[in-house]
């Protein structure tokens, strides 16, 4: 009985540990080849003009993912399309820009 509980617990832990750790982003972008992308520096400059303080820009799901403090001093994590630099709404799949 006790053995059963612990075997189950262990199997559960093992199962959880073997789950593939997929990066499931807030959004994905249909952004095509990189040579058509605009630079992160340009996006950064654009957002700074809006009064944002840029903390980090990464790529995620084919989009630019921006960590910043916005013009109101709030923490934001926002997605932008690498070709158009247009904002990508959360939950968007293969956003065309």
């Amino acid at each position: 009985m006790n053995l059963k509980i612990s075997t189950l617990a262990f199997a559960f832990a093992l199962g959880l540990a073997s789950l593939p750790s997929r990066a499931t982003g807030f959004a994905t972008c249909d952004s095509g080849p990189r040579d058509a992308w605009q630079s992160q520096d340009k996006l950064s400059a654009l957002l700074k003009d809006k009064g944002w303080q840029i903390r980090r820009i990464k790529e995620d799901g084919g989009c630019y993912e921006v960590y910043a403090m916005n013009e109101k001093g709030e923490r934001v994590e926002a997605y932008f399309h690498p070709r158009t630099l247009a904002p990508v709404p959360r939950g968007a799949k293969d956003h065309k820009g």
């Binding site: 789950l19 923490r75 994590e77």
Partner: protein
């Protein structure tokens, strides 16, 4: 006989749940899941703080002073374990005791770096986010090592230690067992 008191057992399995769920939800960017991930971290910190306190005021086998031994005794225990002649401990054995210290510290570090990552000061600060991820992964690796140690000792002394952490009951000491 009763070895693990109810607080130790509840704290143990609560922390297991927090750590595994937090690890499983770490990469999922859905707002409600992110909120859950954050609360799992706060819950883990609360459990760790309570366990630390209990380590000083709790019953015998919950106390750090009962199971934390110096490097000499720890190494000699490790050596006898390699030869298959290590004594059975009623409480935590020396290696298990140090693993508890390392796991609690690493889990606290994972929680605190995660918490800092969502403060205004460290929001989007790359090294903090990366540290949080690395510490989280290290914690899982340590937990796997912990489970391996538990299984090894269970087999060696023919005692189901996972069940013991669930029920609190272990076989009464005999022979050269260390109580």
């Amino acid at each position: 006989m009763k070895v693990w008191d109810p607080f130790v057992r509840i704290a143990h399995w609560t922390l297991v749940t927090c750590v595994l769920s937090a690890w499983a939800t770490g990469e999922i960017k859905i707002s409600s899941i992110e909120a859950l991930h954050e609360w799992l971290g706060y819950a883990a910190l609360a459990v760790i703080a309570a366990r630390l306190l209990w380590g000083f005021v709790g019953p015998r086998y919950a106390r750090f002073a009962q199971f934390i031994v110096g490097p000499t005794r720890t190494l000699s225990y490790a050596r006898t374990a390699l030869h298959g002649s290590e004594p059975r401990y009623l409480g935590h054995n020396p290696l298990g005791g140090w693993m508890i210290v390392v796991l609690l510290t690493t889990a606290a570090a994972a929680s605190v770096t995660g918490w800092l990552s969502i403060t205004d000061r460290y929001w989007g600060v790359g090294w903090m986010q990366d540290t949080h991820e690395a510490v989280g992964n290290a914690l899982i690796a340590l937990a796997v090592l912990h489970v391996a140690g538990v299984l090894f000792t269970s087999v060696r002394h023919r005692e189901n230690l996972v069940a013991a952490m669930w029920t609190g009951i272990k076989r009464a000491p005999a022979g050269r067992d260390i109580a």
